[in-house]
């Protein structure tokens, strides 16, 4: 294991553990302001979108809105499967299979 990996894991452990530990140990007695609660509620949506959009819309540092964009095309059946099943595994399989089939055609 590389040093960078080990440092990364320690860092990720700390920043994940501390927010889990502090409130329940009674280190933060303050009631969170509504704005902070609201902020935390939007974080997952914002992070996931910030990660996803560049992957499916960008290729070679350019906006790639085209019918030959396999990532974008595969996202459609994945999205539909996720919408109907509300589960993780099936839509991911649907996505991967669509991606493989589309990659063969393009």
């Amino acid at each position: 294991m590389g040093t960078k990996f080990i440092i990364s894991v320690i860092g990720m452990f700390l920043v994940t553990y501390i927010p889990r530990f502090m409130p329940v140990y009674g280190l933060t007695k303050i009631e969170l302001p509504q704005a902070v609660k609201s902020f935390l509620e939007y974080v997952p949506v914002a992070v996931l979108s910030a990660l996803l959009f560049p992957v499916i819309f960008i290729k070679d540092e350019k906006l790639f809105l085209d019918l030959s964009n396999v990532y974008l095309l595969s996202a459609i059946p994945t999205f539909i499967a996720a919408y109907f099943t509300r589960k993780l595994f099936t839509p991911v399989v649907v996505g991967i299979v669509s991606y493989v089939i589309l990659s063969i055609y393009y």
Binding site: M1, F5, S8, V9, I10, G11, M12, V15, T16, Y17, P19, R20, F21, M22, P23, V24, Y25, G26, L32, A35, K37, S38, F39, L40, Y42, V43, P44, V45, A46, V47, L48, S49, A50, L51, L52, F53, P54, V55, I56, F57, E61, L63, S74, A75, T78, A82, Y83, R86, K87, L88, P91, V92, V94, G95, I96, V97, S98, Y99, V100, S103
Partner: protein, 233 residues
Amino acid sequence: MIVDSDVKKSINGVKSALPIVLGYLPIGFAYGLVGVKSGFTISQVVALSLFVYAGSAQFIAISLLSAGTSIVTLVSTIFIVNLRHFLYSTSLSQYMKYISRKHIPILSFFITDETYAVAVTDLQSNSEYTEGYFYQLFLTSYTACVFSSFLGAVSGSLIGGSINVGLDFALPAMYIVLLLMQISGYKKVFISIFSGFLSITLMFILPGNTNVIVAALIGAGMGVLLDKWVRNL
């Protein structure tokens, strides 16, 4: 005299953990598979489950690490992604104050989206619980996550290179599904689109993968404003 009251009947945490286990097994397996296929060793993949233990953050860590993101960017992104545990921990503190404080440093590590949701549901309707309940619930779920990611990683290293091409899409697919599970209401749809395209725009301006964390912070901040504006309408 009431002798029976000494025998405290606690709710069974293992039983409560079963739905979580069913959910963690496929996710952990997929994570292990993707981790190995992204170039990590089995022990590295399992190490993330052991020490970070936070579903979506582990997928994000894998994709950022394999993209060569700097440690500072990686760790701050994970910090933001996992900050929601602060809310869960705050909420659980009202229940955990009845158990001995010496267990808290260990037990709090195991708070996840799923264990939190199950624990709160159980404890709202039950006042008869001990630290045993938390250990049962938490350790059963944790074992399922670690074990399934190990299985996925081993399977990934046994399967040849032929399925690599499909696994390129495993992470984006995972993001799509996790995103859809998070979205409820038009405000979140708006924040999703806003943060997504902001991230694309920032990608051309900012170095490394810092566009993700900056777009996420601005996007979530935008959500706060949206909540304020809409309430004031």
